[in-house]
């Protein structure tokens, strides 16, 4: 055990304090179990087919699509931080950049993995590249997510090669140095790709004229949800990064980012969230007064199907939109760490609620006049598969934190905030 601990120590950067190996393994153990359960559940779905889920012909999209849309929105901090640092030269955000890359990689690779389980014929995924339907939002999503995942991998490699042992290999060092020069270009490419797939994910439902609750008018070929998804993703991405950094600080017991960084992230998030809420209000008013009536539907009737009442609209716009935007933007409220983190969590909750409304509520509502409200409860295989993705994320982040320079040393040395 002592030799294992020594070997483990040799992979950790010099001068960095990390938990002992047994303690680290103990931390990983439950997540590994959850990951194993997730892999088993996903294996059942791949082997026996999607009859292992509780989806059906009417609820053809379920938990997985909802969570895919959610984690990709939360992972938007990756491209947006890269954009702010490398394109807009906001150097003060650099300390969170590596975390942004890892979080982005986790979110996107997790989403792609679960999508591969979610389709009936995963081996035909390449057909989309061979026979692309340029009118389909899903084609745009597939192309951009695949390419952006590649970009994220390329952004993660320099971080990986900065590991203490890997740096000893001269060829790796040269490769890392050369790759690092490419990072600003990758940030630009990532921004372009992310802009489109975040929007296309919104467009996925917005173009469905057969689902009047989700159908939206828009600009050129893009429905309004295309733009709302981009706005909501870039508004909540920084908040999610702030929460991840705060969680890492809590678990490690160390201050990892400059004290003023959460406040800066919160301000960016708050301002963008305010713009998003304004745009969302305009969009909702147009849908209520023009789009839905024109298709023959009384929009308020959609809210009579319980439990999906108008309170969801209020929660989405005011409680998890306007309120956190206010709390994150103003110095008096954002200056208090507790309020700042709560507001960031509310902003993230808002984007989760928005994705829920657009995916689950849309499918539950009837379209045909003689149809009824539908219910759907995910199966344990669906829940466990997603639990596996969550566990994969925690494990990859933990390993990255332990063995890679995820956070640059703070000026004046590390500061312990509590415990060890």
């Amino acid at each position: 055990m002592a030799s294992a601990a020594l070997a483990d120590r040799s992979w950790i950067a010099r001068g960095e304090e990390r938990a002992s190996l047994p303690r680290f393994l103990l931390w990983l153990a439950p997540w590994t179990l959850l990951l194993a359960l997730g892999v088993y559940a996903a294996g059942l779905c791949l082997y026996h087919g999607l009859n292992q889920t509780n989806m059906d012909n009417r609820f053809a999209f379920g938990l997985w699509i909802y969570l895919d849309l959610s984690i990709i929105a939360l992972g938007a901090g990756a491209f947006f931080t890269g954009f702010l640092v490398y394109i807009l030269k906001r150097a003060e955000l650099k300390p969170i950049l590596n975390t942004a890359v890892v979080v982005g990689l986790i979110c996107y690779s997790g989403a792609v993995a679960i999508l591969m389980v979610d389709v009936g014929q995963p081996l035909r995924a390449w057909f989309t590249f061979w026979h692309p339907n340029t009118h389909s939002m899903l084609t745009e999503v597939t192309f951009c997510i695949s390419c952006y995942l590649l970009v994220l991998c390329l952004e993660y490699i320099p971080l990986l090669l900065r590991n203490r042992q890997l740096r000893k290999l001269p060829s790796f060092l040269v490769f890392e140095h050369q790759l690092h020069k490419l990072v600003p270009v990758l940030a630009g490419v990532g921004t372009f790709l992310s802009f489109f797939h975040q929007g296309s994910l919104g467009g996925l439902y917005g173009v469905l004229r057969g689902r009047p609750f989700a159908f939206r008018q828009g600009f050129f070929i893009w429905p309004s949800t295309f733009f709302l998804f981009i706005l909501s993703a870039i508004a909540t991405g920084p908040s999610f990064l702030m929460l991840i950094a705060a969680a890492a600080e809590k678990v490690s017991g160390r201050q990892l980012v400059p004290a003023d960084l959460p406040r800066r992230l919160g301000f960016i998030s708050g301002v963008l969230l305010g713009i998003y809420v304004a745009a969302k209000c305009v969009d909702t008013l147009i849908w209520l007064n023009v789009t839905s009536p024109a298709e023959g539907f009384a929009p308020w009737e959609f809210y009579t199907y319980k439990p999906f009442g108008t309170y969801l609209l209020f929660a989405e716009i005011v409680l998890f939109g306007l309120l956190p935007a206010f709390l994150l933007t103003f110095r008096k409220t954002a200056g208090r760490r507790g309020i700042l983190l709560t507001a960031a969590a509310m902003a993230c909750g808002g984007v989760l609620l928005n994705r829920f409304v657009l995916t689950v509520q849309t499918l539950a509502l009837p379209t045909l006049p003689f149809d009824q409200f539908l219910q759907y409860t995910p199966s344990w295989q669906e829940l466990a598969s997603f639990g596996g993705v969550l566990a994969y994320g925690v494990i990859l982040y933990s390993l990255s934190y332990r063995y890679l320079p995820l956070f640059a040393p703070l000026k004046g040395g590390d500061t312990h905030v509590s415990g060890n």
Partner: protein
Amino acid sequence: MSARYGMVIDLDRCTGCGSCMMACAAENNVPPLPQATARTGLTPLLVRKISNKKEGAARREAFIPIMCMHCEHETPCVRVCPQQAVEVDRATGIVMQMPQRCLGCRYCMTACPYHARYFNWWDPAWPAGMEKSLNPGVAVRMRGVVEKCNLCHARYHSAKEKAAAAGRREIDLADYVPACVEACPTSAIRFGNLADKNDPVYREANSPDAFRLLARLGTEPKVYFKSKEAWVKALAEPTFTGKTEVKHG
């Protein structure tokens, strides 16, 4: 587009016997799937019961067969399929599904306003001996792909072969009759060419009693329904009628 094949279904004649469903399943090699529920089964043609939601003597009920409506304008499933596994055949107007190219993403099912698309949740299987009764002209679909009504395309091919053998370019419509139309004991389902003004189906589709489901969505379905009952016709659209028109596209 040389033809626009479509249907007119007279709901006042439909007794809900289900013969059309059985004929559809037999013609298209739809597996029995005893493990399926009402929401996971394969029913490319599904007869649904509708009512005026009143009780006692005032209650009225009817049956409405629901299948792919073969939408003509901005066909929702065609537009969303990421890999062109769905297309509108320009020669016939039939919305075609290619199971061999289908990814099984089910986006088309989400897009269909009529819920007329079905996913193969299980491997197709038949009780021992029953596989001998399969229709050799129709390929069995595998697990993990979407399927739907294709207006008995195998019968269309047979009609084309017959026309070719006779040296004709166009088929004789008497040779192309979908299984449900053939099986209906009350002749409630009628099939024809909506582009041909001399076709009886064209005239019926344009009669005052004819209507289409959710016509205001603007997808131009080619399956029409017909009824003299006002409450049945009222079910064609949601109860609300807004005054504002939206230009689609």
